[in-house]
Amino acid sequence: MLKLTDGDQAMLNGDRGPAPQLAMSILVRMAGVYGADALMDISQAHIDSTIYLGDATLEFAERLASLGAKVAVPTSLNVSGVDECGWKDWAVAPEWAAKAARQMLAYERMGAVPTWTCAPYQTHMRPVFGQQIAWGESNAIAFANSVIGARTERYPDLLDICCAITGRVPAVGLHLTEHRGGQVLLRLAAVRPALQQDDQFFAVLGHLVGKLAGDLIPVIDGILVQPKEDHLKAFSAAAASSGRVALFHMVGVTPEAPTLDAAFQGRQPAQTIEITTTDLRAARAELTTADGRELDMVILGSPHFSLAEFSQLAPLVAGARAHPRVRFLITSSRLMKEHANETGVLAPIVAFGAEITLDTCILASPMLPPEIKTLMTNSAKYAYYAPSLLNTRVTFGSLADCVRSAIEGRVVRDESVWLIA
């Protein structure tokens, strides 16, 4: 039975105004759904409800804003439905751009920080280990819980903002230590370090783990390399696209998994699944739906391209030029582009012929012209969603493959490390 504090009850009664009342009324009904006994405080939020889909998402945002809603905790904003300054360069309809911009404005009016990124953990809004937060955006939820050790439930759009306005969440699930232990063991069986060092490895592994984990918390054992932060970002995004992973543990890598025993909180795994190189090859193959070598666009940056990724890309493209037939698009945030510019790594990328879209991505904004039919990407999330959402065919490859293909004007992949048994 849910017990509310006096503060919760005051909000529910409307003593703090109509917006907290509306947010609290939704939160209380959801506490009933979750079976919560109480609500608890959060100290940060990330809002995925920013994505404009149509009239309902806009009406919800504007209802809250018109009631005078203000966020009660520091709150970052996910991607929107439009690149506010750059949409005219693309196939975005003016009516869409106008409504998506109105939705952006509604959330800004609530006092959230206009980060406009799906990688808020790579901004100054990054939470810390153990921090109680309410985050939307599937990749960000998985990253915050698993890689940082912050604590968020898997929050859906429309609830994230209610948590931010009230500063409260149902005290359930991944907010509580006892629900953060691993549930299924996924063990890499003799997967060579050379393959694990490949630039595509963690995205492919994430895609596979998402499919295998079902609704359980996976523990991955057998990692022999030290992944970069952007590899764990790619893993998080992939596992939260092919599956519903909101928390994973990687033994010897993530903070709640110094040992296998710690990852399972001393319990025995209910189930163990072996992952072989053959399984990984099959998972990688699934991410490619194109069958030829035709290429209209290379697309990078889901989740949003980081400064480290810009820095990795710069020497690969320096002095080269993308083929005139192939567009080369990077989706990122205003902050990351500014950092890339300041550190000098943006200039060679722009000289290569790359275009940069900010605030949004190709999945959240109807920006691609219809002649773009075949994509190449190093993002498992783009590879997963683009065929369904954009009716495009996709080739998945490494960052180096993407650059080489853009230069040659056709798909080229170095698959040598994937072919060795």
Binding site: I26, D48, S241
Partner: protein, 138 residues
């Protein structure tokens, strides 16, 4: 096969329709076109099937947080499933129904069944969902 299954009403309501059953989780963002009510996730076995007005039995949501927003749009557009039946408590589906109620005075039942009862459902059978959470076959 029992004629009445005792489900748990996560969001209570009444609905009637033909069942559309899948054992694979679904993300509505990138998986459901709210303009048409069709399942569009090409990785999903129900890709190309229209779920609008049917009783969609799907074990749980996966993928994007925006699943809830897509479902809210579908309720507003009249293209949502008549009800959603799951195996456990799925906050994403429940929230869409609750917010649809708040915004538009329209909600849909979300019912959780135990795994064996869920497994007994078949596509095409006619189901009635009662306020108590009972799922009745006819």
């Amino acid at each position: 096969m029992r004629a009445a299954i005792a489900g748990r009403a996560i969001v209570a309501g009444e609905a009637e329709g033909d069942a559309l059953v899948t054992h694979d989780a679904l993300s509505f963002w990138g998986g459901y076109d709210f303009h048409t009510g069709e399942i569009i996730d090409r990785h999903h076995p129900l890709a190309g099937v229209r779920a609008a007005g049917r009783i969609l039995a799907v074990p749980f949501s996966k993928g994007s947080s925006t699943t809830t927003a897509v479902l809210l749009e579908a309720v507003r557009a009249g293209t949502a499933p008549a009800a959603i039946v799951t195996t456990g408590v799925d906050a994403f589906f429940a929230l869409a129904s609750i917010v649809a109620d708040v915004m538009y005075g329209k909600s849909f039942p979300v019912i959780a069944l135990d795994a064996a009862d869920f497994a007994s459902l078949t596509t095409g059978e006619h189901l009635t969902i009662e306020l108590s959470g009972v799922v009745r076959r006819r």
